[in-house]
Symmetry: C2
Subunit: 367 residues, 2 copies
């Protein structure tokens, strides 16, 4: 037995039990990952903290075909991307999709933003006793449609049932495999350099606000829909125009603010953002004011953030805007040498404020 | 939108809501898979109903690198095995392991029995608010130890938190990728032929009985332990001795009885089993009598069933018995031309009875 942990509490943690905030995508989530999962599993692929693992596929040379050097995953053979996400969203159905289409698109996008072509998905269902089978049918049909739209095949799955009161209707965990084209340089959230441009592919906050509206039963003049969509074509078009893109991320849980904070921390750079440049739909702005949300922290499911060399920014933006999912693409900021690890927002009225990683949950169970 | 379903109820189902039995690994689970998931996702890899999908890894030739022919997964490039399972076992800790080591071994074994060398795992955690972080630490440490023992690396993961009362401490979903050696012929649960021998690698029922003992607080003279263990070396040794093995399965949920029924149905053959030949530990027998369980339906987590040509049976058994996990290997029956789709047990006293696929749950949440 390898036990790399001391006794509880977790080093660096002030808590001894799981809080809702540990699932927020914010500071508590980061703490759990950095202090518990990464040292616990201890291998350098996991420690990179990308949205997907990119690993070389080859049989180990060790005895009997078995491999004990768990960190020895250098790129021999084709490179694949591998990712997993559990979806615990509430409610199951919402404007623009449901838990099933979300599970497919979310996993496809985690592969796509790594530069991979998504190929195969798995789906594991945890059903609560009493779930109407008709709901499950609708969700499976919507997963199938999402797979077809994203060009992936769902090839393996599992079903478990838990007693009433021990689940919440339905949780879905999707995992995905994609292939990384040979010529594709590795991107990493650790590769941003001062001077780089920070781009976003479209309006932010649409998914989270759609879910909150559905959950709270709030009606607006126009129906707010989740923006969920598969990003593979957009990513491939961008990489075709500029193979030097430093990294891409889909700003889901924790929103744009958390993604930019992760970037600043991983690359040891500062990030400045211009509030007026961030595309936000008028209705999303209005809903956020009503619900007391900050749109920078609200989840997106069909958007990406990209860091590109400054000289390539305009060319990449042109290519993005030619794509249906990049029509509203914009440069929202840049990477700077100052205030390492910190994201600074220049506000509408010209003031500056630090955009922190939030500790807990603004929106629990948004994905 | 492709909706291949009519309106509810599901064709062939008598139920309109999820029952605990839908997670049993028995008849209701099979019904859900055959009537809802397979037609819903509609591709031939999933429809094979193996414990793992074996797919060729190659970039599609279609436009823009995207692929819409979801069934076109023929074996170009290296073949990989891909599998997923959610673990909802109760209690989290039990003699011989915990939910974490179970999740690792279960996924490793689903790859191994397909003839693959397991390489990479993912893990997605659904935590219930209030779970002690110390428990999570212990479980992560035990997953790490299980990964090391099985020669796999856990390279990507996810964490979600659900509110108190909407989960049950911890659910883990692991997915795995293995590589199938080029020379390895495909095995399939549909390949059994009359005359073949049916082998089991060791004593049956150990895992399920250990869980039930822990759950019910029953103490026996000796501690009953789960048999969980990674089967890769055993499988590879068997395939080295006999590449013509028709299929292998690990008889987990639903036990030996369900695996044999699946085999009889998929291969359209009969199976006869000799009760006296089935290795069962004395303590497991005693515990089953006390708990009112039939050991043939009790889950195993470190055993496999293999169907081999009769002429190779003794040679394969010899190889199995040289392996630590195959010491108690035995031939328990054979494949016959009669009673297609039906498993017949010749009992201790010489009588014969049909071993059915059970409808519902003998042991809920055993894995």
């Amino acid at each position: 037995m390898t036990n790399v942990f001391g006794s509880c509490p977790i080093p660096g943690s002030q808590h001894d039990r799981v809080l809702l905030g540990h699932g927020s995508g914010g500071r508590l989530t980061a703490e759990l990952i950095q202090n518990l999962f990464v040292p616990g599993f201890g291998n350098d692929v996991l420690a990179r903290l990308e949205d997907q693992a990119i690993v070389g596929l080859a049989l180990p040379a060790a005895s009997g075909g078995m491999r004990n050097e768990s960190t020895n995953v250098a790129a021999h053979g084709p490179r694949i991307a591998f990712t997993t996400d559990s979806y615990v969203i509430r409610p199951l159905f919402f404007p623009g999709g449901d838990i099933g289409s979300l599970a497919v698109n979310g996993t496809v996008n985690d592969l796509a933003v790594g530069g991979a072509i998504p190929l195969f998905l798995s789906a594991a269902f945890i059903l609560e006793e009493g779930l109407p089978l008709e709901d499950l049918q609708r969700i499976v049909a919507s997963m199938r449609a999402a797979c077809d739209a994203a060009g992936v095949a769902l090839v393996t799955g599992d079903t478990k049932v838990v007693d009433r009161g021990k689940g919440d209707n339905l949780f879905i965990t999707t995992s995905g495999i994609g292939i990384v084209p040979d010529h594709q340089p590795v991107m990493s959230i650790g590769f941003a350099r001062p001077g780089d441009a920070v781009l976003v592919s479209g309006t932010v906050g649409d998914h989270g606000v759609a879910i909150m509206s559905a959950r709270e039963g709030i009606e607006f003049e126009t129906v707010l829909k989740s923006d969920m969509a598969p990003l593979t074509e957009l990513v491939q078009a961008m990489l075709g125009a500029c193979p030097e893109i430093r990294c891409m991320r889909d700003p889901t849980r924790g929103g744009l603010a958390s993604t930019l904070n992760e970037l600043a921390a991983a690359s040891q750079v500062g990030v400045t953002v211009d509030e007026t440049a961030i595309p936000i739909r008028r209705e999303v702005h209005a809903a956020c004011e009503l619900l007391g949300l900050d749109p920078l922290y609200v989840a997106n499911e069909g958007k990406l953030v990209a860091v590109v060399p400054a000289a390539d920014a305009d060319r990449v933006l042109d290519v993005m805007r030619e794509q249906p999912l990049g029509r509203n693409a914009a440069q929202i900021g840049r990477v700077v040498d100052e205030h390492q690890g910190i994201v600074v927002l220049r506000s509408l009225i010209g003031g500056e404020r630090v955009v922190m990683m939030r500790s807990g949950e603004q929106l629990p169970r948004i994905c």
